[in-house]
């Protein structure tokens, strides 16, 4: 394990993660001592339109994967339309590799609650929901506790701090469906239906929850809001790059010495992050990695100096996603890894769109055959063809997400596939696995 150099350490930007060091920051009294709810007081003295402008000026972009400008999204909500508006926070963290929202909600839940109140005030919503992944039970406990504390303090409820603004905030637990991380599927799930994506348009900004204007934002996005309100847009932009401003929590996992959460300005490289994480594990050399969860095309060792911001990763042919960087070494097999991801996508496909439902079903079977040593050269064409037919042909991104590991491993690691097919690699699955699995 190597010690990171000083200039690399300087790239850490503890903002959203800072309170995690205080063990009781999830309690109101501690949170308030650490600047807590100061942003809310400040925000309520400002007109909602000025708050939207503030967020626009900060250049804050969505932390859930796509990086859509948050202020712009808020600005889409039609005002004075006589309809109720809703704020829905997407806390359905389930993208393989992603583990940044769960600790945030567990160790600093009030920052999300405070951000939610400010965001709801800005878009004039009197009801907000936090749709939290069902499996995240401890984070949900802490969040519900935080909401109750906020209510008792008068930060939630009617006439918040004498502003005349009312807000009800409900923490709603999901029930174990990855697809509900997709915003329109999430809305359907929140309405009490199967979580299946909707065709857009209309976009949630016009017809979201209960067919009313709705903003759906990720946990990290909303939790960033209080800091921008306090520190101002110029301070926020002092971190990150010109087009990707602010800090980001990078979740490093896999074959590195010290996996964990590293909050740095957007635009840091994997090489620098690995240095922060104490280097690769002894005996392991970087082979492939996901820049932002398994739904983003894989990158390889040659991309180690790619700037990890929205533009940099896009230029490398992938997507920044959730900055969930799963790091695999030369001792890991990309074919096996892709198979396991496909089992996941196959299981989680909601079944609405035929390409995703059927395509994943068949790709999983093709992978099982290749990994049991019974693959043929034609299987590779079949995989490529199936992936091409899923990509872009489903309502939501799950289909694209399933196709990308297939396409990227076929592109970078075709030889690994051929090694199974031509018998140079020993089979990873027994013939038994071909029968009746799942």
């Amino acid at each position: 394990m190597t010690q990171p150099r000083r200039e690399i350490l300087q790239k850490l930007t503890p903002v959203l993660t800072k309170r995690w060091l205080s063990p009781d920051a999830w309690k109101m009294e501690v949170y308030e001592r650490l600047d807590g709810y100061a942003a809310l007081r400040k925000a309520l003295d400002v007109h909602p339109d000025d708050l939207i402008q503030l967020i626009k000026d900060s250049g804050l972009r969505g932390r859930g994967g796509a990086g859509f400008p948050t202020g712009l999204k808020w600005g889409f909500i039609p005002q004075g339309d006589g309809k109720p508006h809703y704020l829905v926070i997407n806390a359905d963290e389930g993208e393989p590799g992603t583990c940044k929202d769960l600790p945030l909600m567990t160790y600093d839940p009030h920052s999300l609650v405070e951000g939610a109140i400010i965001a709801a005030y800005a878009i004039r919503a009197n009801r907000a929901f936090i749709y939290i992944r069902g499996e995240a039970v401890h984070a949900a406990r802490r969040l519900r506790h935080a909401v109750a504390e906020a209510k008792a303090k008068g930060y939630l409820g009617t006439n918040i701090l004498g502003s005349g603004f009312d807000l009800e905030l409900v923490v709603h637990s999901g029930a174990g469906a990855y697809i509900c991380g997709e915003e329109t599927a999430l809305l359907d799930s929140l309405e009490g239906f199967r979580g299946q994506p909707r065709l857009r348009p209309p976009f949630p900004a016009i017809a979201g929850l209960y067919a009313s204007p709705t903003v759906v934002n990720n946990v990290g996005t909303i939790a960033s809001v209080p800091y921008i309100v306090l520190g101002g847009p110029e301070w926020w932009k002092s971190m990150g790059t010109e087009k990707s401003s602010g800090p980001m929590i990078y979740s490093l996992s896999g074959r590195i010495a010290n996996p964990g959460q590293y909050e740095c300005g957007l635009g840091i490289t994997l090489r620098e992050l690995i240095e922060l994480a104490g280097g690769m594990q002894p005996g392991h050399n970087l082979k492939f990695w996901t820049p932002g969860g398994s739904s983003t095309p894989l990158l390889t060792a040659e991309h180690i100096d790619t700037a990890m911001d929205f533009e940099g990763v896009a230029a490398a042919g992938s997507i920044l996603g959730t900055t969930a960087m799963q790091i695999f070494s030369d001792q890991d097999c990309p074919v096996y890894a892709t198979w396991r991801w496909l089992e996941f996508y196959h299981h989680e496909s909601c079944g609405k769109c035929t390409p995703c439902r059927e395509g994943n079903y068949w790709m999983v079977r093709t992978y099982r055959r290749i990994l049991s040593g019974e693959g043929t050269h034609q299987d590779l064409d079949t995989l490529q063809d199936t992936a091409d037919n899923i990509f872009g042909r489903s309502f939501c991104g799950l289909g694209d997400g399933a196709a990308t590991p297939v396409m990227s491993t076929l592109k970078f690691f075709r030889q690994d596939y051929l090694d199974y097919i031509e018998g140079r690699t020993a089979p990873r699955l027994s013939a038994k696995a071909l029968v009746g699995a799942h």
Partner: protein, 389 residues
């Protein structure tokens, strides 16, 4: 709906006897007329009694919400956390998604399965443990992970530590989870999934942050790295007074009680059309901040109508065409973000018909051609006034 007498069928009434007050409390969390939103928590609630969702549980949910059993069944079978067979006292989940898998999660699962003599989603004969292999549990920095009743119980699990855990559980012990609340039974835990507080003394405080979670921020602290120039008093540019300031100057506080709101809701719905017309004609922009949420929500509760859900390709998308908030990028980050995102969503492509036509590009085209829809329905600032500014 709370004061109407609900009649339950023989299938649903045993559950109704025990769960009705809690069910009504859940329904009350959601807006009037949106009780179906309570379905997911209600199904969790059913599991607090049954440990799984039985046909009786489906009947109870259907009857309390006034929907049919097929509608409930469709939802209950969609989500993995609703179990369709009786479960054990504890649910032990092993992550076998790719990252945990290559770091040993598969061996952990295989070993547990062999040791307990059960497969995925099966329960041991003594009724103690239901085993499952789970998809990513969002703790990859602790891979491989094992949870008990979804609380993180073993981090960096090995076959030995996992077997040790289940042996303890089977012998009646309740070992302390690494990063979750103290262990209770699966049924008891479901109360929290249904949205109720964990009333066990100290349970919310359980679960310290692990080293990987704190790794980055600890490094920063150890080396004295902090973000410079943070001034919490940085002023926010103001262009108009806030509602609170206005209220102060007018020396009147708008204190709307819940009772007021309920009473005004009926009135508001009735007078909504006039109110909207009035508001539009008003010379200044108004917003609904601070007004009761019930105002104007007169749409039928059943919102899933064909025209709102599946508009045809010729229906114009009005997203972003509000008059006042033209999506004009005010800085490079915003411009880049807008350009990189063709839809307003999370980077997920829209339907084929709209692909490639982004809100932003449409706006740009509109500007070029000299304006948007001359009279968007929700426009709240008359066009003339805006030009005066």
């Amino acid at each position: 709906m709370t004061d109407t007498k609900l009649e339950f069928s023989p299938a649903a009434s045993p559950l109704a006897e025990r769960l009705l007050p809690a069910a009504l409390e859940i329904i009350a969390r959601y807006p009037e007329g949106r009780s179906r939103s309570a379905l997911l928590p209600l199904l969790h609630l059913v599991q607090t009694e049954e440990g799984h969702v039985s046909p009786n549980g489906v009947a109870f949910c259907a009857e309390v919400l006034g929907i049919n059993k097929a509608q409930v069944g469709a939802v209950a079978t969609f989500y993995t956390m609703y179990k369709r067979r009786p479960t054990g006292e504890y649910l032990v989940s092993v992550c076998t998604n790719t990252l945990c898998n290559v770091l040993g999660g598969q061996e952990v699962y295989d070993q547990l399965s062999e040791h307990l003599g059960v497969g995925h989603d099966e329960t041991t004969a003594d009724g103690r443990i239901t085993l499952e292999h789970a998809e990513c549990l969002a703790a990859c920095d602790y891979a491989p992970v094992v949870t008990v009743n979804y609380d993180f119980a073993v981090d960096q699990a090995t076959p030995e530590t996992a077997v040790g855990l289940v042996d303890k559980l089977r012998s009646g012990e309740r070992p302390t989870p690494t990063r979750g609340a103290r262990i209770c039974s699966l049924k008891e835990m479901q109360t929290q999934l249904a949205g109720f507080d964990d009333l066990r003394e100290g349970a919310v405080a359980d679960g310290p942050a692990g080293a990987p979670t704190l790794r980055g921020v600890t490094l920063a602290q150890e080396h004295g790295v902090a973000v410079a120039d943070f001034n919490p008093d940085t002023p926010i540019t103001k262009t108009k007074p806030s509602p609170r300031e206005e209220a102060r100057t007018e020396n009147r506080g708008k204190v709307a009680t819940v009772v007021d709101k309920a009473a005004s809701a009926v009135k508001a719905a009735a007078g909504k059309v006039e109110e909207v017309v009035e508001r539009r004609s008003a010379k200044q922009a108004t917003d609904n901040a601070g007004q009761p949420v019930t105002t104007g929500d007169v749409k039928d509760p059943e919102t899933r109508t064909a025209e709102t859900r599946n508009p045809d390709a010729s229906t114009p998308d009005r997203t972003g065409t509000t008059d006042e908030k033209k999506p004009v990028a005010t800085n490079p980050a915003e411009a880049a973000g807008a350009a990189a995102n063709e839809t307003a969503g999370d980077g997920k492509p829209a339907g084929d018909t709209e692909r490639g036509e982004s809100i932003v590009s449409r706006e740009a085209a509109d500007r070029k051609s000299g304006g948007t829809d001359p009279n968007p329905g929700w426009q709240n600032v008359p066009r003339g006034e805006k030009e005066e500014k």
